[in-house]
Amino acid sequence: MKCRKCKDKAVINMRHHKLALCKDHYLAWVLEQTERFICKYHMFTVNEKVLIAVSGGKDSLALWDVLLSLGYQVDGIYINLGIDAGIGYSERSLSMIRKFMETHGEAVLKVVDVPVTYGASITTAASRTHRGKGRPCSVCGLTKRHIMNRIAEEGGYDVLVTGHNLDDEAAVLLGNTLTWQTGYLARQAPVLPASGAGLVRKAKPFCRFYERETAAYALLAGIDYVYDECPHAVGAKSIYYKELLNTLEEERPGAKLQFYLNFLRARDEGAFRVFEEQVELNKCSQCGQPTSLVGLCTFCRTWQQVNSQSGNTQ
């Protein structure tokens, strides 16, 4: 198969776009498309300060590389969750990010160490709470959202970006559609505006790239990343939904993209507006972050519970 632009040997074929490209044209195409999505969805401008959440995985490191190449002011935040699982998962992830930074001299990284800052690893925290019914993903998501928002606020960043790709978005969309989580559907978008009450703007510049496209970018750009999945993600529903969607995609190239884009169109047309909740936000009495609760926010309540049991569970 040949590159559509130069007729050289193609390294990737995107059946949903009917587009095959060689290495150089693919790397350039990803940059062009990312810039197009940032502008189309009014995510941020070159004059704004961007904070990117990096995990050491392909998506976040590829996105950081792309944003730096496009000339954005973008710093990274890594949240060390203290996940070991016998393979030193969190430490390996951090070392992969440090390696990335060696070849990206302009990159600045902030690290928040959860066990040091909050008193327990995510694995231990999950075992001490009822959240997530034994799965750490719920406590993990809650903790990461809190920390990312706090660091973005404290650092004066205009926007927080994440490396969510189209497969991530389509899997979430499928999950929320199967259970008709209308409130979540109303809030799923490439960019979520700042609330004005202490929640920073959030954007997903890779939301229209297939997962294999972000992985291909990382491989072709020579970005080393953590191949292993988070040990706690094994058997996660999101992975099952991705596999279902890939089965559909095999038969109908473009099905995943159309599912997501048609959802965004329906959302823009107001299909979910009736489900948008106008929740009054209060300030958490402990951390000061916005919360729909009175008194402590969910994050502070959860971690209070975690630390109150620190003598009971290891």
Binding site: M1, I12, A171, A215, L220, H232, A233, E249
Partner: protein, 66 residues
């Protein structure tokens, strides 16, 4: 000479018939071409490539999540 090629995904190896497309070989191994990127001799390749005897193709898993 062996008339087979090899696909490797993580710690699993699949022996497949040479002379077919990589895409067909991946599917016959009950894998999804959507979920992997094939690498041959250190180079990313497209899955319409015909497998030659002795080819060793590394399949990089692309699915992540949690």
């Amino acid at each position: 000479m062996s008339l087979t090629a090899k696909l490797i995904l993580r710690d699993k190896e699949y022996e497949v018939r040479a002379g077919q497309t990589l895409r067909d070989a991946i599917q016959k191994c009950d894998l999804s071409p959507q979920a992997v990127l094939p690498v041959l001799d250190g180079q990313l390749i497209t899955d319409d490539q015909i497998l030659r005897p002795g080819d060793i193709v590394m399949l990089v898993s692309v699915i992540s999540g949690g």
